[in-house]
């Protein structure tokens, strides 16, 4: 048993991080807000070239994929990353980023699609199978003020049935793998929230000293890190289980564990990050809000943490 990153895993993760810190700086992310969150096709193709969509199509496992997705989450990269990654094994154009593939799991009471205007293909994940829909044929109302400015949404009033491309078993696996990949994005959000809050706490002075020297602030940051590290263990465990190198064969249950932990932790770290920033945390110009908003978006993907807690109990 060695539940630590090996050298190959570490260098793969560092490679993705180094690409993202150079290419997807927070300024790039912010500037995307001015275009209403429309996805940058050039960036999408670069992400494809780096391999974030094709990792598993290229023979890597879920383990490497969550390491990459942790970095995508940390850099706040927006768009249907998980969908394009899941689609890559059956749609080569998704693998290299030349087509942007999104997905939707029909939701109630409102059926919400994301990034609809930027998509080339939309995969509808239904219990009975996967269906491909032309996004242009989806009818709905575009929300003027999405909670996350980088995740434009549409309230769908008509979703075509689409063309069946895979059976119920595959849809089930997409849902399961989607949970784990999303959990990795949420883990990255936690880590980015902590980094930002830590920097601020060390630099911001009140009462004549850095606020990070006060135990009240320290303990909040310690709680953020604690939640992030427990989440990391959960996400990595779910991933190695899927790769057949784990300690459980109940892959759905460990995927739920990861998604539940990651959902709760990302929301906690997001709000605590805002709190550490005080008044400035409530402003648009400080990025703390961006991590919290993305955490709100991702919690709704593939079932929120409450749903997974309930589903987890059903197997007890």
């Amino acid at each position: 048993m060695d539940f630590e990153l090996n050298d190959d895993e570490r260098s793969l993760q560092e490679g993705i991080r180094s690409f993202l810190t150079g290419r997807c700086t927070i300024d790039v992310v912010r500037s995307n807000e001015e275009t209403g969150g429309a996805l940058d096709r050039a960036l999408w193709q670069e992400l494809g070239a780096v391999g974030v969509f094709s990792l598993r199509a290229d023979g890597f496992g879920m383990t490497e994929s969550v390491l990459a997705f942790e970095e995508l989450g940390r850099s706040l990269v927006a768009g249907p990353l998980v969908a394009s990654h899941l689609a890559a094994t059956r749609m080569p154009a998704a693998a290299n980023g030349s087509r942007i593939v999104g997905l939707i799991e029909p939701s109630e009471p409102v059926n919400i699609a994301e990034h609809l205007a930027s998509l080339d293909d939309l995969v509808v994940v239904r219990p009975e199978g996967l269906f491909v829909v032309n996004p242009a044929e989806v009818v709905g109302v575009h929300a003027e003020r999405p909670l996350d400015a980088l995740t434009p949404i549409t309230a769908v009033s008509h979703l075509p049935q689409g063309e069946l491309i895979a059976d119920a078993a595959t849809a089930h696996i997409w849902h399961r793998d989607g949970m784990v990949l999303t959990a990795a994005l949420q883990l990255g959000l936690c880590l980015a929230s902590i980094d930002l809050a830590k920097q601020y706490a060390m630099q911001r002075e009140q009462f004549g000293r850095p606020i990070g020297s006060f135990q009240a602030v320290k303990h909040l940051l310690a709680d953020m890190l604690t939640k992030a590290e427990v989440t990391r263990a959960a996400v990595y465990a779910a991933a190695v289980n899927i790769d057949g190198r784990g300690d459980s064969t109940d892959l759905m249950q460990t995927a739920r564990m990861a998604k539940m932990l990651a959902g709760d932790s990302a929301l906690f770290c997001g709000k605590a990050g805002i709190q550490v920033h005080g008044g400035m945390g409530f402003t648009w110009e400080v990025d703390a809000q961006r991590y919290w908003k993305r955490a709100c978006v991702l919690d709704t993907h593939f079932g929120n943490s409450d749903e997974h807690a309930a589903a987890f109990s059903a197997a007890l």
């Binding site: 940051l221 427990v230 300690d247 059903a314």
Partner: protein, 395 residues
């Protein structure tokens, strides 16, 4: 990354499992929880059985009679003994996991030759005299005084939280030998035989009513200088060496118990009825149990990460503090949920009304100690914030 055991690890597991299945059914009944003399005999018997079978000192180096097992093998040992419902380390805890490893690293050849085999065989029980009424989180401020007088140290003062102080043979003890230097530099580590003239051991009842803790009072107690481990005034370093023996396995048995207890709670909820419906019919309760069970599974994964890190580097690192913080909180939530579920049955610490009340209420009470013992959660948070995140010290 992987979570799978190697062939060698699996064969170690099978060998241990075979042995456990042959000896466990023959064990006598466990003594009553407050029968400390009886428990000492029981724990010593079990330690002797482990020794005779070649499983004693799982984490001790081979040259000192231990098994020299890896952290992963230690995990397997704890998994298998828990699975077999084997006795716990009990009163051998301090000797095997604290004083013994310290002696291995710091003691003289003569001290090692005398003490180590006796600990391994369960012949000597050790206790710990570190904390004092005035030195808890700030341990280095301890004031129990030892003054050199010829070939002896003369000790005056008080120690507290001394588990098994009334049954132990030896005490690993920190004393103040210099009051004129910064607090960390005037401390000495001593081997103190229990029962010396001038020592008074008094039980300290916990809030649960049990008496494993003692207070130990010292009035002109003479301990030979030959019982010192390490140099005079170098005791803080000697004591800190012990901390480096933790391999991420400290809470393995407890974690396994908690995971089982949480799942038992789900089954209990399915048969407890109130107003004509089972507790399990409450979606909120199901969600709470699901959340706690999933979080326990995640902490189990973190345990394996910490053990893997120890296997690679010899140290658990920050994951240990993170684990303890998260576990203390989660164990509390599990206990609180169980008490809500049991409702008025939770007012008994022992089983009542055919319900497994003891496990849940005792567990809830135990959780109160988790956020206090071995570094309070507040101190743990300071450590995480300062040593991992690099935030500035308050002073």
């Amino acid at each position: 990354m992987d979570l799978q055991f190697t062939d060698a690890e699996n064969s170690f597991r099978l060998k241990l499992r075979d042995w456990l299945s042959s000896v466990i059914p023959q064990l006598p009944h466990e003594p009553h929880r407050n029968d400390w003399i009886g428990r000492r005999e029981y724990d010593s018997m079990w330690q002797r059985m482990l020794f005779d079978a070649g499983f004693a000192g799982i984490n001790w180096p081979r040259e000192y009679g231990g098994l020299g097992a890896t952290p992963t093998e230690h995990l397997i040992f704890l998994e298998e003994t828990e699975r077999a419902r084997a006795p716990y380390v009990g009163q051998n805890f301090v000797g095997l996991l604290h004083a013994g490893p310290t002696l291995i690293t710091e003691a003289s050849a003569e001290q090692k030759a005398f003490h180590l085999p006796a600990i391994l065989k369960g012949e000597h029980i050790w206790c710990q005299g570190f904390s004092e009424p005035g030195a808890g989180s700030d341990l280095a401020s301890l004031s129990c005084r030892a003054i050199r007088d010829g070939d002896d140290y003369v000790i005056n003062g008080q120690k507290i939280w001394t588990s098994f102080g009334h049954t132990a043979d030896y005490c690993e003890m920190l004393v103040r030998t210099d009051t004129d230097v910064p607090k960390h530099r005037g401390i000495t580590w001593l081997i103190v035989p229990m029962g010396l003239p001038g020592m008074d051991v008094r039980p300290l009842r916990t809030l649960e009513g049990s008496t494993e803790f003692c207070e130990v009072f010292f009035d002109e107690v003479r301990v030979p200088v030959a019982n010192r481990v390490g140099d005079e005034n170098d005791g803080w370093r000697v004591a800190m060496v012990t901390l480096s023996f933790e391999r991420g396995t400290a809470f393995v048995s407890e974690m396994l118990q908690s995971m089982e207890l949480a799942r038992d709670l789900a089954q209990l909820a399915k048969r407890i009825t109130r107003n004509g419906v089972t507790a399990w019919d409450d979606a909120g309760l199901r969600r709470d149990i699901g959340r706690i069970c999933a979080e326990l599974d995640a902490l189990w994964a973190l345990t394996k990460r910490n053990i893997s890190q120890a296997q690679r580097t010899g140290l658990v690192g920050p994951g240990g503090n993170v684990f303890k913080l998260a576990y203390a909180e989660l164990r509390t939530r599990l206990g609180e949920l169980a008490m809500h579920l049991l409702d008025r049955a939770s007012l008994s610490i022992d089983d009542i009304g055919d319900l497994p009340t003891h496990a849940h209420v005792h567990g809830r009470i135990h959780a109160l100690s988790l956020g206090i013992a071995a570094g309070t959660s507040q101190v743990q948070r300071n450590i995480v914030a300062e040593r991992i995140l690099g935030l500035p010290k308050e002073r």
